[in-house]
Symmetry: D2
Subunit: 264 residues, 4 copies
């Protein structure tokens, strides 16, 4: 029999918060409001805590648990996966993080021309004892037009691509995290920029979004506050962080604003 | 006179944690234990909090404050910079983050051949009221050789580049953060891997480090615990986080371990 | 009617090699030797040449052509897509580049444990007049163990993850590029390293691959030559470039070797 | 004596185009038109060809040659470095590639406020026999305002950060490449966008550049053609490639144009 080095005792007396696998690229299925499921590709980290008395964890078991679920990583299966990790690895706490692109079909505002937009999303889930903690993150690109530039100039106004990142922690209802759809966070963020981005715009659409952005100037500060104001009223959300960044068209650096609630 | 849009009042009642500039590349000078100062190039973020009653901050003032110091960003000047940001931007709290490569000359263990090694470092500093918080971070690449692979195989053992990231918060003495040198954290991390990396190795050195690594197998868990055990005894350190990652030579994903102390 | 600025004449007399869209993330379907088709996500560039007399191209048409094919980007459809681009954009030459992760199920050498490995792949296709040029690229991670380190040391040998990149141009048969499967290039590259990488290894497998790598030491130079020697004999290949890079476990830099054939 | 594995004969009969070190981060000094020299940090690749009869190259010698010059990598020293590489490694051809940020002080157009702008630059140099080939590359960020959006909209116009990449091969005069300054390529590219970017703009400057961009709309096609037209007349330049990319503020993908001359 081959010796099990990892299971030997450790005498340094130092417990580790997380031990696991990371930078794992894997095909996964996530929930889709419109089409039930969407196939995508995720970057995944899986970990458990390691009590002070054990020398190491068994890394191959993380992959085995992931394989068992054939990459179904939805709000529904996450708790089961985390429970299996805790069980198989003899841990009190298990942890999953993943990032993935999520695609939505978007329709141009005038011509109705369709195409896919990609949004970078994230799940961060932790099972500590029996309590599940679940945070959904979505990055939404928007057009942002500077209110100051518009007001102080005789014509024109600098604008640029901005990125709004929204992370929300779900209130637990009967031990399960309340469902907040990726689609809802996308729509919320898009309402808070100067105009949405589109995959495909014909000339009449370009005219429309150019003027829409000019009529709705926002600072990064405004975008964060507008998103935050709506999330504070959302009963499903127990915590959020909103971050906005503008890829300034007049500077070679970016500007940002951020707000966490409740402030920890 | 040109109107000042940012200074207008805001009625949404939402304070922002941080507003500022980011992704700013800038030539800077940092402290060097051996040569007093070292010139390098940093990625910088500067920010302040924004009270609920103001519409926006004045982004150009961040750059002005940075320029005044001509990029001298040392433990000594950071407090002054943060005070000026608070003052110029009428804020209660100011924040600086920067990442930069730091170079040390390293000598091969047998031939004595010299060359430069680069270490990715970071400063995170915050001035909240009059209290300065300062966290130094250093990423140290090492060789790691797997104890399990060595023990269960008749010959050989898989090894790879690993990365140990150490972040330490300094105890304040008379309002100033205790000095912890980048060099000290590099040396500490290098002692905790299987062998250090070198910029330049001749054949006799390659033989030496190959055998050194084989004699000192470590798991990612071991590296984190070894670094943590030393830092717990360091009187200058009030908090630390240690993270280790192995770019596994037998897998296409990586493994990691992490430990934060005191656990928050 | 909205004016068409792009169609106006240009008088500078400078033709452009490529004008188009890039950094477009899109769900695509590619051919899979085992399962016929595989869904993945690509980064895409689409472009055409622009004759000297036209001011600009119509960027939205690239997206329209891509949408029509609902992301089916296989050796079979690429020619049609390129023809439509040429036609819709009035160009002599059209060009497609895409990069995407491709997944294969791999079985551990002793336990038979299964899991997915990801390989970064690329298509570069050009239609110039009626001639289709098609280059397939595959990046294959392998274990590499240094022959010098093994020979000069009493025990052990430094090893690390290496990356072999193979690009092959297909011979045209009746105007269609000969099919070379991604799977074939993966298998070829894996034979040329010290050992393959695996998604999931149990202890008996780890013992196996550790010893396999020790028995098959290779320099980056060897890997490139071994791949090149096989490709030179492949009748389907009219040109190739092989590149290998080792993420050296004893240095903080990497080493590489490259070979192009026939040398242009 | 330790055996020299790399110097053994090879029988596969395959010559390699390049073998060497890469991803090496190193402090370097480059020429500066204003201040004679500028210290920066480069990512470097150094390589030589490997004839069919040798098994491997000696990687440590690349670092030794680099160290001898203490990072002075100017048009003046590059030839000496490449000659030493050829000599020390017994090769017919040696090759250096490096990328580095280069800083220039820029003055705001109205207030005169100063700050540093960073430009990503590259050297690609090859010594083949006695002939030196030298290509300088500079990436220049600019503001670009869309002519179509401006013309078809009642007010406003979408604009964004764009990036112009210029690469020029120098004509040799007495075996030395003609000097083309980084500063010249920066100024050329900035003239060809809608407005330059600045590190620091006060309100009067923001008004100025907003209106300047609105008055100078350009497509990516225009930027490439404008740069190309000037370079074709430059007697010091034997070849160039110009690439422009717009980080579209209304789309989540980018658009690009490129022109190579003479077309190879």
């Amino acid at each position: 029999m081959i010796v099990d080095v990892q299971s030997r005792p450790d005498v340094r007396g130092i417990a580790l918060d997380q031990v696991g696998v990371t930078d794992l690229r894997y095909p996964v299925t996530v929930l889709d409001r419109e089409h039930e499921k969407q196939q995508t590709i995720a970057q995944i980290s899986l970990s458990v805590n390691l009590p002070r008395e054990f020398k190491g964890t068994h890394m191959s078991r993380f992959i085995e648990v992931l394989n068992e679920h054939r990459g179904e990583l939805t709000a529904r299966t996450v708790k089961t996966i985390l429970e299996q990790l805790k069980h198989k690895l003899n841990a009190e706490c298990s942890h999953l993080e993943m990032r993935f692109p999520y695609f939505l079909e978007r329709r141009a505002p005038q011509s109705g021309a369709c195409g896919f937009m990609d949004y970078e999303c994230s799940f961060v889930a932790e099972l500590n004892g029996g309590m599940l903690d679940f945070v959904l993150g979505v990055q939404v690109p928007v057009t942002t037009l500077c209110p100051c530039s518009k007001e102080i100039s005789d014509y024109g106004a600098h604008n640029q691509r901005g990125m709004i990142t929204v992370e929300v922690r779900s209130v637990l209802v009967n031990g399960h995290p309340s469902v907040v759809w990726i689609e809802e966070l996308v729509e919320l963020a898009e309402r808070c920029g100067s105009a949405p981005l589109y995959p495909l715009l014909k000339r009449e659409d370009e005219r429309y979004v150019t003027m829409q952005a000019y009529e709705n100037p926002v600072f990064v500060e405004d975008m964060v506050r507008n998103v935050a104001a709506e999330l504070q009223r959302d009963q499903r959300v127990s915590w959020f962080r909103v971050h906005a960044r503008n890829y300034e068209s007049i500077h070679n650096h970016n500007v940002f604003a951020t707000c966490e609630w409740p402030n920890q």
